[in-house]
């Protein structure tokens, strides 16, 4: 049967690649590999060197049945998982958090940009749309091509957090403002998290 070990490994390899891009952002390709559902995000894009080696080792000795290698992505949050009724989730989580304000407008600042913007988080369904919107919004401020950036936000406790770690709903309820960090600071920030 085709598919099997080789196929799954390619996918996992991609997920554990050492890159400086934002977690969850894929290079565009004509034939996207079958997606692990939309808006997949991973926790802090720490250098997954260890994972890469593990993966190579796994492929050298293929385990019987082709053990799924995406255990490395265990911290990935995906749409609709765990399978909890969205109705129940809304009710229960709504009880726990404070009352929602109509329209979740937050300020967005970008390093080097002369003025800030404001966006309504409720308009977006997930991280992918948010990133695209921010990219569009700040297109004119992008300096040299290919400069790296990291999207961060300030949460309820005042801490600066990397966007993409927590489920979308959790993010929108705790995000107070967004900040796009560019250039060397962004790279340093990504490299230094454990």
């Amino acid at each position: 049967m085709d598919g099997g070990v080789g196929y799954v490994d390619v996918d996992a390899l991609k997920a554990t690649e050492l890159r400086l891009g934002l977690p969850g952002s894929d290079e565009p390709s004509e034939k996207p590999p079958p997606p692990t559902t939309t808006t997949t995000t991973t926790t802090a894009a720490r250098p997954s060197k260890r994972s890469l080696d593990e993966d190579r080792a796994a492929r050298r000795e293929p385990s019987e049945g082709g053990r799924a290698t995406s255990t490395r992505a265990t911290k990935a949050q995906v749409v609709g998982w765990p399978p909890i009724r969205s109705y129940r989730k809304n009710s229960f989580q709504a009880m726990k958090t404070e009352a929602e304000v109509a329209g979740l407008y937050v300020k967005v600042s970008m390093d080097g940009a002369p003025y800030l913007r404001k966006i309504d988080l409720e308009v977006y369904k997930g991280y992918k749309e948010l990133r695209e919107a921010l990219k569009d919004m700040f297109k004119c401020f992008e300096g040299c091509k290919g400069s790296e950036y990291a999207i961060t936000y300030e949460d309820k406790d005042g801490d600066l957090m990397l966007v993409g770690d927590v489920p979308w709903e959790m993010f929108t309820s705790s995000c107070k403002k967004l900040r796009i960090i560019r250039g060397a600071e962004a790279i340093r920030g990504l490299g230094s998290s454990q």
């Binding site: 079958p34 053990r67 265990t74 909890i84 009724r85 129940r88």
Partner: protein
């Protein structure tokens, strides 16, 4: 010796109708209808209940025409995975076509049950106007309507017995819809409004309850404060099924004793739910009814373990328990020793996205239940760790399981002791539990588990698979086995074209197949659709705007929904859905 149909024809139709009336199961009535033209005619004219598992499987007009004397209809719309936001909100499942057809063809309709459908206020108004003897309206997991629509139902359905609104998304634009029940209205037996968000006018509700002496089921929403709840409940001591509103308030000895005496007044209470935000102050007031309870739903009760343990230990006659994982292993061990009549257990995660689990709920709790509760047949269990050994023990303890849904919260989680896949454990479940009808898999699983399922799960009707398997072989095992499979839903598995195309005829024996984030290409869908004209092959893709015709064969499908139908492709597909 049977004389042949000459003898049978001597009986008037009414005799056969009476004989057929003893056949409750639709499958039996369907079989009867195939015997001969005479029986087909008699059966269709006398069928009173119709169940449509997929609203697009048959045209509403055809159903209404075939069974002209229907009194009770149940219809389901969206695929099950719509519950987890995997189905686009505009996918379909609109109720208008059905309600319009029924309004025209079934004027004597008394009961209507809709699940996962989009029901507009216009629909509700049409229902309210069209059926003179309308008695039961049940809307489960529906959306698209508001309390204004409910007002129309209240105002016009003079003989309404049951209004069951279960987990719907309802817009609140008519605050006093309850007051639309006329003063002369007294027939209510069951009222479930737990899913409504808004405040209720308590005095109007009290009035309604006071004048409905047959009221047996009352499930309120969380908005009503405890003091008002108590005065309301004092009007209905005959209740059998109660869903309370908020169960917390500032501590007040007078209120506490009122709550206690109200609950002590319930002599017939069997089912308890709601108990939103229960605080330790008022919870003990429930103890007086515990022993008579057969069903307890603590899903919304944010009670912690010690109080939970105490509460459920009092419920010696419990048959159904829905609870949060706050009950922990200790609580489940207590349930296992106290609730010997338990049949159904559901344990939900209180913190599903939490990374570090502070909750001490593991496989041990479920093992204890399986050992102590001999009548247990239905399980839904969310946890973070599992072992093959535990599953084996559960399988051996409870071969009478009919429904086993295990959700290990992190995908691909192996047996945490041996680091092996959980193939052996789930295989044991399907091999031991011969009557298993519903199964949900989770954890690290290879193709081997599917081999066991395909071979052993002969009674399995519904299978849910996520993040499992290695290749097409897995899907092939399922589709070539599982004789009674009706619904298969798969997400994020490496299953692709070959298994689908090798088992095309199987798909017509099933109600539906859902596959999302798998490895199916458009070419396979095209081949499948061409080969099987009585299947609707729906490709769902929210990413692209171009029409399906321009995509190449090797284009990977994001989401796929295949279902058998005699109605042909539907005409109400939204932009993100293409019927291949």
């Amino acid at each position: 010796m049977v004389r042949g149909f000459g003898g049978a024809a001597a009986f008037p139709d009414e005799v056969w109708e009476l004989v057929f009336s003893f056949l409750a199961a639709d499958a039996d009535r369907n079989a009867v209808a195939l015997v001969c033209r005479g029986w087909h005619r008699i059966e269709r004219r006398s069928r009173r209940r119709v169940f449509v598992g997929n609203c697009y499987a048959v045209a509403p007009a055809a159903a209404v025409r075939r069974f002209p004397e229907v009194r009770a209809a149940a219809i389901k719309g969206k695929p099950h995975f719509a519950d987890f936001n995997l189905v686009p909100t505009d996918w379909g499942g609109g109720a208008e076509a059905w309600v319009e057809a029924m309004a025209g063809g079934w004027p004597h309709l008394e009961e209507l049950r809709l699940k996962r459908m989009v029901v507009s206020d216009d629909c509700l108004e049409l229902i309210a106007r069209s059926f003179k003897n309308f008695g039961v309206l049940s809307l489960v997991s529906c959306d698209g309507f508001s309390t204004a629509g409910l007002a129309a139902i209240a105002a016009n359905c003079r003989n309404l017995r049951e209004l069951d609104l279960h987990e719907n998304e309802v817009e609140d634009n008519c605050l006093n819809w309850i007051s639309h029940f006329p003063e002369s209205f007294t027939s209510l037996v069951s009222l479930n409004i737990a899913c409504l968000e808004g405040d209720m006018n308590t005095s109007v509700l009290e009035c309604l309850i006071s004048r409905c002496p047959n009221l047996k089921t009352l499930r309120l929403n969380h908005a009503m404060p405890l003091e008002k709840l108590v005065s309301l409940l004092q009007r209905a001591p005959q209740l059998v099924d109660l869903g309370t509103s908020k169960f917390s308030a500032d501590h007040h000895p007078e209120l506490l004793s009122k709550v206690e005496s109200t609950f002590a007044g319930f002599k017939h209470l069997k089912s308890l739910s709601g108990i939103w935000e229960a605080g330790p102050a008022y919870l003990p007031a429930i103890y007086s009814v515990c022993e008579s309870l057969t069903s307890l739903n603590l899903y919304y009760a944010t009670i912690q373990s010690p109080e939970l343990l105490k509460l459920v230990s009092e419920c010696k006659n419990l048959q159904r328990l829905w609870v949060m994982d706050l009950i922990e292993d200790n609580g489940l061990i207590a349930v296992a020793s106290s609730c010997k009549l338990l049949q159904e257990l559901r344990v939900f995660p209180s913190d599903p996205y939490g990374v570090a689990p502070p909750i001490s709920l593991t496989e041990h709790g479920l093992v204890a239940i399986s050992a102590g509760c001999l009548m247990l047949h239905s399980v839904l269990y969310f946890c973070r760790q599992m072992t093959n050994a535990a599953l084996l023990t559960i399988a051996n303890n409870r071969p009478n399981l009919t429904c086993f849904r295990l959700c290990i919260i992190d995908p691909h989680t192996p047996d945490y002791i041996s680091q092996e896949p959980l193939d052996a454990g789930f295989s044991a479940i399907v091999e031991s539990c011969k009557d298993l009808r519903r199964l949900s898999l989770s954890g690290l699983l290879t193709d081997r588990v599917f081999k066991s399922i395909g071979a052993s799960a002969n009674r399995l009707e519904m299978l849910s698979v996520a993040f499992a398997g290695d290749s097409d072989v897995g899907l092939h095992y399922i589709l070539s086995g599982c004789k009674n499979l009706r619904k298969l839903e798969i997400r994020d598995c490496p299953f692709g074209d070959k298994a689908l195309l090798d088992n095309t005829s199987k798909l017509e024996t099933m109600r539906s197949l859902w596959m999302s984030s798998c490895s199916v290409t458009l070419g396979a869908c095209r081949q499948l659709a061409q080969k099987m004209p009585r299947l609707n092959v729906e490709v769902i893709d929210e990413r692209r705007g171009r029409p399906l015709e321009s995509w190449p064969d090797d284009f990977p499908i994001e989401k796929l929904y295949i279902y058998r139908t005699v109605a042909g492709p539907r005409s109400d597909t939204p932009p993100c859905v293409w019927t291949v």
